[in-house]
């Protein structure tokens, strides 16, 4: 019973966090709410017995990504108070029905009985650990990750280079 309440509460927090991230009129608050959403997702991952992925989610998605967003927001121009007020009204006009849609979708989906015969009763990883899967089953993924990170670093250097001849 307690576990049911915890699971439903975590899901509600995730949806509310995503909603607040989308609805706030200030970008800085949106970035901070994104970090909060990531933290809730970390708790969900711990509940689903995925501690390694949860730690990655917490350190990278709740720590690094909001820091990148906040520094990018700091480098762009801020709105004057009138512009901010107009933006706030505009957002309310465009977003007021989104919570209603979410509640309606959640209520509708909770009434449907899905086909669940693919679910195995006892989660069992058959002797696999993350390390063995990473190094033995999917080594090309590691290569792809390293290539993506190197390409990203190269792209950042090229894109943010100071151009002198314009």
């Amino acid at each position: 019973m307690l576990d049911t309440v915890l699971v439903i509460l975590l899901t509600a927090l995730l949806a509310i966090g995503a909603l607040l991230t989308a609805m706030t009129s200030r970008l800085l608050r949106a970035a901070i709410m994104l970090a909060v959403t990531s933290a809730v997702l970390t708790a969900i991952m711990f509940r689903l017995n995925a501690p390694l992925a949860a730690v990655f989610e917490l350190s990278v998605c709740a720590g690094l990504v909001p820091a990148i967003f906040i520094s990018a927001i700091g480098l762009t121009r801020r709105l004057d108070p009138e512009g901010l007020k107009a933006r706030f009204k505009d957002r309310i006009k465009r977003y007021w029905f989104l919570p209603v849609i979410l509640v309606a979708v959640a209520a509708g989906l909770s009434q449907i009985h899905f086909v669940t015969d693919f679910i195995v009763s006892a989660p069992d990883s058959a002797g696999e650990t993350v390390q063995t899967v990473f190094w033995n089953t999917r080594p090309l993924d590691l290569l792809g990750q390293v290539a993506a990170l190197l390409a990203a670093a190269f792209a950042v250097v090229v894109l943010l280079k100071e151009t002198t001849n314009d």
Partner: protein, 105 residues
């Protein structure tokens, strides 16, 4: 209702709700940085879906591997996209998708 069915139902609804919010934010926003935040929300939904499927089918190690890969690729995408937005901002003085007119040809 067994525990696995409960988790499938509740977290599955959570995935759908998060994806709805992400798609809506991505479709309605004009700010490029906010569009990236919407992409992040969508990535959260996908991460939760991968971990949930791994839990339900008993392949937790594989699911965690894929989730970690997804997170790393997501960071690479965000960093590159933020640099594109900042380069555009430096050129135009604006990060608004509707006023962007200098990208033709």
């Amino acid at each position: 209702m067994t525990e696995a069915v409960l988790l499938f139902t509740v977290f599955g609804i959570g995935v759908i709700l998060t994806a709805i919010v992400g798609f809506y934010c991505l479709l309605t926003t004009k700010s490029l940085i906010r569009a990236l935040i919407a992409v992040e929300i969508l990535a959260k939904a996908v991460t939760l879906l991968i971990v949930l499927c791994g839990y339900l089918t008993g392949r937790m190690a594989l699911a965690q591997t894929l989730a970690i890969t997804l997170i790393i690729i997501e960071v690479a995408i965000v960093v590159v996209a933020i640099s594109v937005v900042l380069a555009l901002f430096k050129q135009d003085g604006d990060a608004d998708a509707t006023t962007m007119r200098t990208l033709k040809g």
